[in-house]
């Protein structure tokens, strides 16, 4: 006897890109055994134990035969636990417990618990999009993944237990529709600009950054609120468009950081990795490869607190995404391309000891130490910051100031300015051009520095609802150029 064969279909992810994987189960009358072949990684090999227990727990029959599961194409590396469900379905199909021909009309993706429950796995949106692109109209996945999978416009069969999947394939009953968890999704609470006392210049720069999408750097002694300011940028950014939201959701899903009650990321994401983060953690990597913080911040804000403390290699790796908005990671199994168009916000002290710019402390750094501190930040990276704000330590009497505007008051201005920059960008007047040329000589500015000043001036004009960039706006933009403490 040659045995019986059944298939199921799922998708492996290379980065964000789904690749079709056929799961073949072959049963032979021989000494009972169970083998998975086809470049399965450790988590995927362990599927054996989960699938065996899951099938038993669902009160189904574990075939007492020789079972071989092949994940094809065999040369594609299979990573993770999402293959549990398709493996179980293929085995059940081969042993005649569910109709095989129905199984291959579906994509399947999910992890099995030992008691037969189906657990959600990251990357469902990308898998569902893969199914959709190949004309498969239904995906069987964990009930909790329903809202996410539905974003790909496929029909979702939400199963919370293997027994439900079996009943569905046998045509006995459809699984209950997913009703969501109890309660409403949590309203995201963003830190608000109303919390900031004084700091008029930094607030103004933040508004410019939000309106023009500029990268910005806060420099100053410790305790002047640099991080606090940086964290408030997302609160004045516009919400994501539908396409942006789906792009961001796909990345967050693959990385497994999607909030279960918030299937669609609709607000600009905010990521603030610690300065001990590795290159792979920042730009992505690993065998998967998985997206890094830079990709998780796609269409949002990447805050790098204490910029010079980051590994230089990690900072240099950010230059590619800052340039073209993507990160490409080459692996033996193929090349993964992650989008990473983020707004970079950095904070730093003016010197290693933190005493510079602080009237209450004296800087004790040697010139050599200062030099080494500056050398950590390459000019190429510093040049990406359109706005640099030096935040001095306010004196005691200067702290008695009123609260500034709340983010909700700033946001409409940002939206209007973005609209103007997109549709009718302001043009520099002759006088403004003349000032810019004079500044190039006098300050002095590099060619890139000049372009940065011009961009920021255009944003300032858009915020002023002006059709022209006037002298005042160029002058203002000049005030946010890179100070000498950081540049040289």
């Amino acid at each position: 006897m040659t045995g019986v064969l059944a298939n199921s279909i799922t998708y492996a992810l290379i980065g964000l890109e789904p690749r079709r994987v056929e799961v073949e189960a072959h049963l032979q009358s021989a000494i009972p055994s169970f083998a998975i072949v086809g470049l399965a990684d450790r988590a995927c090999q362990e599927a054996k134990e989960r699938v065996r227990s899951g099938i038993a727990s669902a009160e189904l029959e574990w075939p007492r035969r020789r079972i071989t599961v092949n994940l094809a194409p065999a040369e594609l590396r299979k990573i993770g636990s999402g293959f549990d469900l398709p493996i179980a379905l293929a085995i059940l199909g081969a042993s005649g417990q569910i109709p095989r021909e129905r199984v291959i009309e579906h994509a399947a993706f999910g992890e099995l618990a030992l008691d037969g429950r189906i657990r959600p796995v990251g990357g469902v949106l990308a898998v569902a999009e893969g199914a959709r692109a190949e004309g498969l109209e239904r995906i069987v996945c964990a009930a909790e993944s329903t809202p996410e999978a539905e974003l790909a416009s496929v029909e979702v069969v939400p199963v919370s237990h293997l027994a439900e999947a079996v009943a569905y394939f046998r045509g006995e009953r459809d699984p209950p529709p997913y009703g969501g968890r109890n309660g409403l999704p949590p309203e995201p609470v963003l830190p608000d600009l109303a919390d900031v006392l004084g700091q008029e210049r930094a607030r103004r720069a933040l508004e410019l950054a939000a309106a023009g999408g500029h990268n910005m750097l806060f420099a100053g002694p410790p305790g002047t609120g640099k991080t606090m300011l940086g964290r408030r940028l997302p609160s004045v950014l516009p919400p994501l468009s539908r396409e942006e939201a789906i792009e961001v959701t796909r990345i967050h899903s693959v990385a497994g950081v999607l909030h279960p009650q918030q299937p669609l990321v609709s607000a600009a994401p905010f990521r603030a990795p610690h300065h001990s983060a590795s290159v792979a953690a920042i730009v992505g990597g690993g065998p998967g490869p998985r997206p890094g913080e830079a990709s998780l911040a796609h269409h949002g804000v990447l805050l790098l607190d204490e910029l010079p403390e980051f590994a230089r290699s990690a900072l240099e790796a950010l230059r590619q995404p800052l340039e073209d908005g993507t990160i490409s990671i080459a692996r033996a199994g193929g090349r993964a391309l992650f989008p990473a168009r983020f707004q970079l916000v950095g904070t730093m002290n003016l010197c290693p000891c933190g005493g510079r710019g602080d009237p209450a402390a004296e800087c004790s750094c040697s010139p050599q130490r200062l030099g080494a501190f500056r050398d950590k930040l390459s000019r190429a990276l510093i040049d990406r910051f359109d706005l640099v704000v030096t935040v001095p330590r306010p004196r005691a009497h200067e702290l008695e100031v009123e609260r500034g505007e709340a983010s909700a008051e700033v946001l409409p201005r940002v939206l209007a300015a973005r609209d103007r920059l997109a549709h009718a960008p302001p043009v520099r007047t002759d006088a403004a051009d003349e000032l810019l040329s004079r500044a190039v000589e006098r300050v002095p500015l590099s060619a890139r520095g000049r372009a940065r000043v011009a961009r920021v001036a255009a944003t300032a004009a858009a915020l002023a609802r002006s059709e022209r960039v006037e002298v005042e706006q160029v002058a203002e933009a000049l005030a946010y150029r890179t100070p000498r403490e950081i540049a040289s």
Partner: protein
């Protein structure tokens, strides 16, 4: 031209020599020294040597008690530049924002008035004085004296500044190519800085600072010494204030220097300022402040404030350091 042999020998022996040593080693070296070849090699590298015996050697420097055997020179200017009326500006490497602002202002205004600004290309005050002189926009306005071989720039961070000085003036050193910077060479360098100038200005100096060595040297040679008053509570100004106590001329305006040379201040360009900039300037002159603090006393919005401050910076009236803005022109 045995001075060149002497300078080349000093480099090889890693010693500081101003006169021929009566040693066998030197005699052997001098006998085998290919002077024409050495000069050709210097020319190939864009360098020149001005011997002490040369008629163009600056008389003020020749007058000191241990003038160098000669000066290696880099740059396009004629050696005659070294004999023009010159001021030395010296001070702390780790200077304050105030010291940096004053050094730059003095460099600019003295160069504008026609003086040559001499300094040591060090970090801090030295570098700012050179930058100010270059900003004045007059050709051949500044001379940098190195404490290492003429073929290198120390500190490396000033490589570009050194290049600009060579283009617009001269970089000089008594040390032949190949001599490494060493701490003991800097006091010797300072004697040349002071020796080239008729007056030495100390901008900011701690107790025991190298700038005070230059000042002591200038006093010994009977040159004029001026010192910029600093805050009496600041350790950075302890040395320069002590000079005042000892009788150095206090420098409170550029004219204090110019009068020594019988010069008039260059016509101060009175830039047209916006109303906002004028009111900001008034506040900044009272006391150095951050942009937000000035905004609170003038009532200007953050955007207008940034524009006004940038305008004042471009006009050279205000300088920023660590987010704090200060007036840079003498108030008196």
């Amino acid at each position: 031209m045995t001075e060149l042999a002497l300078a080349a020998f000093a480099a090889e022996a890693d010693a500081h020599l101003v006169s021929r040593p009566r040693t066998r080693r030197f005699a052997l070296f001098a006998a085998g020294f290919d002077e024409a070849g050495y000069v050709r090699e210097l020319e190939r590298r864009g360098l020149r040597f001005l011997a002490r015996s040369d008629a163009q050697f600056p008389p003020l420097l020749r007058a000191i008690h241990d003038p160098p055997a000669g000066l290696f020179m880099r740059g396009g200017a004629d050696a005659e530049l070294l004999s023009r009326p010159a001021v030395a500006i010296v001070g702390a490497r780790a200077c304050s924002a105030y010291g940096a602002g004053v050094a730059r202002l003095l460099g600019r205004e003295l160069a504008s008035a026609g003086l040559v600004v001499v300094s040591g290309l060090a970090r801090g005050v030295d570098g700012e004085a050179h930058r100010g002189a270059l900003e004045a926009g007059r050709p051949e306005s500044t001379v940098a004296v190195l404490g290492c071989g003429i073929d290198r720039i120390y500190p490396a961070a000033h490589a570009r500044l050194g290049g600009e000085i060579a283009e617009n003036g001269l970089v000089v050193s008594e040390y032949a190519p190949g001599v490494q910077p060493a701490p003991w060479r800097f006091p010797a360098r300072n004697r040349i800085v002071g020796g080239l100038a008729a007056a030495t200005i100390v901008v900011e100096a701690r107790d025991g600072s190298g700038a005070l060595i230059t000042a002591d040297f200038a006093l010994e040679e009977g040159r004029e010494v001026l010192s910029v008053p600093g805050e009496i509570t600041s350790a950075l100004a302890a040395g320069s204030n002590a000079l005042l106590r000892l009788g150095a001329t206090p420098l409170t305006r550029t004219e204090d220097v110019l009068e020594l040379f019988g010069l008039e201040a260059a016509e101060p360009d009175a830039p047209e300022l916006s109303t906002a900039a004028r009111s900001v300037l008034e506040r900044v002159r009272d006391e150095p402040r951050g942009a937000d603090a000035i905004g609170r006393v003038t009532g200007l919005g953050a955007g207008e404030m940034a524009a006004a401050l940038a305008e004042l910076e471009l006009a050279g009236l205000v300088a920023e350091s660590a987010g704090v803005y200060r007036g840079v022109r003498p108030a008196g």
